[in-house]
Symmetry: C2
Subunit: 583 residues, 2 copies
């Protein structure tokens, strides 16, 4: 018998009345830290990142060498207006509202192909955050070709329904325009492109985790892109109320990062001037191919869904057309192994038969997924990027062959640059500073949540002492080194919607470790060679200092002439050089 | 003029054709690591956690002392059938499909009230993962009262549409039944309750991060609940193919945790027997109240939405009825400060006026949010829970007063238990093991992603050396100590949908640090007292050993009688005792 007495009158019926649907935008509005909008500082970076990612993706899909500008204007103590412009193919009018004001809408989710965006959340989330904090609509202006006019639209997101509200729409004569780095003050104009403007509560902070750092790393991983940036800050006195306002203003958490030093805050860079990261390569990266799912990465439930949805009329042809690496012959083999009729209607496969089929697929040897869906940065480009970035003595890079996690092809690249301590100007690194780690996923720099990222974990897991770097237990190695690590995949498994850290699938950890170890071995060789050379030089310098004195002493003892003494000195030097050569 | 040549024929028009809506279930299916379903081992834990959370929430809402059973049956090498049964109020028939087979549907998202569940994702996600990996439907059986029959339903989730598919529905005579821990072999039966059964690809691993650990910690934080568990594993030989199958089987990543030691895997516990965590308290916790949003935690966009949606007819009454801590008089004050007519229609407030209103609200002094929406575990219950858990020499607990982040009230509690090294049986802790940290959010144990959690970060940030514990730099302190830390809030800001780690809002970090420091101070006092006592005892024992020898020597020198010698010895002991008392 029930022993518990009821104390309140809530019943199944009263509880049922509270049940309600939650729209995905309501969910993310309340959980906006999941999207990277938890503090004003991070919000600015996230908004820029989402817009730039979209611009680069659009340009590459259309085979256009990307040109992107980021314009940030400080319009109120805690408020910025961000405009990101590209020379991409533009967006057709009908798609604009949904792309910019509906979460979970996009072209990249339903296919297996390497891209920066994959979720269909980012730019709408940035607009939603802007709307939440400033009440302002997102403004989009886009032109698809010289022969058509541009259209300008203002859209809001109806968060209750996750639906765009179109506030304004008009045709105009806009064309995207970028500063020309070769001819200061002049512009380059294109016939097509898109510009998006969002007003949002934000804070600009220089240095680590800044928009500048993001764009600089973007330029390293995308040498084919030309990126311009202009940050117009309010003068200090105008922004006086800033600290106060932003701390009163609810959302100032700086999740997943240490807070900036006070001195970093709001130091205006060269005001109102465009700075450009120039294009270093005039060639587009190889466009990645789209692939079908690999049978070994498909779960039973997904297999059942695919069989239900296929337009193929037989099981055999369904297997061959819906999956990669399944030839017509392999499809027949799978059917036979499962004891199923190859001519069966796929939609009619019963649950038990699907399980048998699933096991037969697992038991069939198949080629690994195709890898032309991945576009690595490439060893040469990584070396060039790092050389541009640091005045290094030694630079190396490794591109691993493609591997697979959960059926998804991926590929790891690593780069390493090292310099002589004290030689890096403006770096200000102390002798016991950890290495600087640059993480990238599908060419996008990852700045936040380093601690939660599989790429960082791989760096920590390598024993860097073997390669000549100090390393505290469970921490990054120490030394004047920049490490770069890049994962390229058709589906990067991020640990959250803000896409800052990669989930620790064992296959990813393993590949990253291999790439880093190879860089480490090359570093050890270089450091060993440098150490030997330095020792030899030191020895030579030391002895060379004393040879004349030695010769002088011997001359006094043996009563040698000046000439004999000079001769002795020369012979001693020669002897020394020989013994060094032998060593 | 454009310098870039197009290489491919993708245009704005062809790109537009690819744009598609993504259902929230498709999104989470592909990103299931965000929900805690990335490895078979974690999947089992997550499924149990979601079901138990729901059961405890339902019981408490209805004022029923919770009784919950978790039954895990190992039905195939990599497959488990999980059944979680409760004595809650039951679920009305019409709500069952949506509650168990639609993501983002629930009763807890749209209100500010402390609860375990808050997102409306968990249990549907568990069913969706089961369906993905085994193709099986979720089975629910529920009864709302003695006077009505139970209903049994099988539901699948249509992931394309995020919509339930009802496969079967029938009435039956089921009543929830639990093992009676006082009378082995007999049962306790209730008139109402719910049972949910999910088949899923899973792996059972004992020890750290196991279902057992979760339930044990659940019992500590919920002493009013009675929890039963039965885990029926296949014998080892039957499960022989397990390792092979699970590694072939795509999803074996163990994200965010170290992999289990080989020896831990699949050791069957006492087979087929129910184990019970008994109820320790016969009283329900105070039911938390539901609150309105606090004006200082509401952003401009949200304020505009609230004004648009309110049923109040004047601005003044809207402010007073839609927010907490705004009296009619305060509402008037806000209107005056903003220069707005208190009788204005709320929906007619223009954008600029809304901004003025927003600033006026920020500038108005308001009481902090009410805190009866929080139900702390309480210092006494934490101490009792820890004493049950460890044979400690010293136990203490601290409940902090409520605080606020982003307008949401929250409260931190911390507990600490310490024992003498080597005295904890079965613990096997080495001398340099870090403390054991138990994290809880709204009484739910958090097992994964400790590294990403603000509660862990707070523990690390405290300088434990001050309190007598060793602590490596940037790491947990070391010693025979269990630390417990609990955050209770109307909205816990988790770092991901799997709800394993708390986001690092500065207010949360600060409160957690204060609570831990107070525990630390008490620990230091205890350790100091114990050290002084031990030193005194050692000194006494040492001297007591030598007093007879001393007396003997003096007797020989002074030629004392035996009696005088005994007398001297006694006096020396007394002297010693006095000097100790003075010290």
């Amino acid at each position: 018998m029930p022993r518990a007495a009821r104390r309140r009158t809530e019943t199944a019926e009263t509880l049922a009345q509270r049940q309600r649907e939650i729209s995905v935008s309501e969910f993310f509005l309340k959980n906006r830290h999941l999207l990277g909008f938890d503090s004003p500082r991070r919000a600015l970076l996230t908004a820029v990142k989402e817009a730039v990612d979209n611009s680069l993706d659009a340009c590459e899909e259309a085979g256009i060498l990307p040109e992107v500008s980021v314009d940030l204007e400080h319009i109120a103590p805690t408020r910025f207006r961000m405009t990101v412009t590209d020379n991409g193919p533009g967006i057709v009018r009908a798609q604009v509202p949904k792309i910019f004001a509906k979460l979970l809408y996009g072209s990249k989710f339903h296919r297996l192909r390497m891209a920066r965006g994959q979720q269909g959340i980012g730019i709408s989330a940035a607009g939603m955050y802007g709307q939440l904090t400033t009440g302002r609509a997102t403004e989009i202006i886009s032109r698809t070709s010289r022969s058509r006019p541009a259209h300008r639209m203002d859209v809001l997101l109806d968060t209750r329904a996750n639906r765009p509200i179109l506030l304004r729409e008009e045709e105009c004569d806009w064309r995207p325009e970028f500063p020309d780095p070769d001819r200061p003050g002049e512009s380059v104009v294109y016939d097509h492109g898109t510009a998006v403007t969002i007003e949002l509560e934000a804070a600009y902070v220089r240095g680590r985790l800044s928009v500048d750092e993001f764009l600089q790393q973007c330029a390293i991983a995308n040498p084919h892109a030309q990126i311009h940036v202009r940050i117009r800050l309010k003068p200090r006195d105008e922004a006086a109320g800033e600290d106060e306002a932003s701390s009163a203003n609810a959302a100032t958490a700086d999740v997943g990062s240490s807070s900036p030093a006070a001195s970093e805050v709001a130091t205006p860079p060269d005001a109102a001037a465009w700075r450009s990261f120039r294009r270093a390569v005039e060639q587009m990266p190889e466009p990645p191919a789209e692939i079908l799912p690999h049978p070994h990465g498909v779960e039973l439930g997904m297999l059942m869904q695919i069989l239900k949805d296929t337009s193929s009329r037989t099981l055999r042809s369904a297997l061959a057309t819906e999956f990669s690496r399944v030839s017509d012959r392999t499809a027949l083999e799978i059917c036979q192994r499962a004891g199923l009729d190859p001519a069966a209607r796929p939609a009619r496969i019963a649950h038990n038969d699907a399980e048998t089929l699933y096991r037969a697929i697992q038991d069939t040897k198949l080629m690994r997924p195709p890898t032309d869906c991945l576009a690595p940065i490439g060893e040469a480009a990584i070396v060039a990027g790092l050389q541009k970035e640091v005045r290094a003595d030694f630079v190396t890079a490794v591109s691993r062959p493609p591997a697979v996690y959960r059926g998804n092809p991926f590929l790891i690249e690593a780069g390493l640059a090292c310099w002589r301590p004290g030689e890096q100007e403006g770096d200000g690194a102390a002798a016991d500073d950890p290495v600087r780690l640059l993480r990238f996923a599908n060419r996008v720099p990852l700045l936040y949540q380093a601690g939660a990222c599989a790429l960082s974990r791989a760096v920590i897991s390598v024993n860097w002492k073997t390669y000549g770097l100090a390393q505290p237990k469970g921490a990054l190695p120490i030394g004047p080194v920049v490490l770069l690590i890049h994962i390229a995949s058709v589906w990067v498994p991020f640990t959250s919607e803000s896409k800052d850290a990669v989930a620790a699938y064992p296959e990813i950890l393993r590949e990253a470790t291999f790439a880093l170890q190879e860089c480490g071995r090359r570093l050890a060789q270089f450091l060993g060679r440098r150490r030997r050379e330095e020792e030899a030089r030191r020895k030579r310098e030391y002895i060379e200092t004393y040879i004349p004195h030695l010769a002088h002493g011997l001359a006094a003892i043996l009563g040698l002439s000046d000439r004999a003494q000079a001769d002795l000195s020369a012979r001693l030097s020669k002897l020394l050089a020989r013994s060094r050569a032998d060593a």
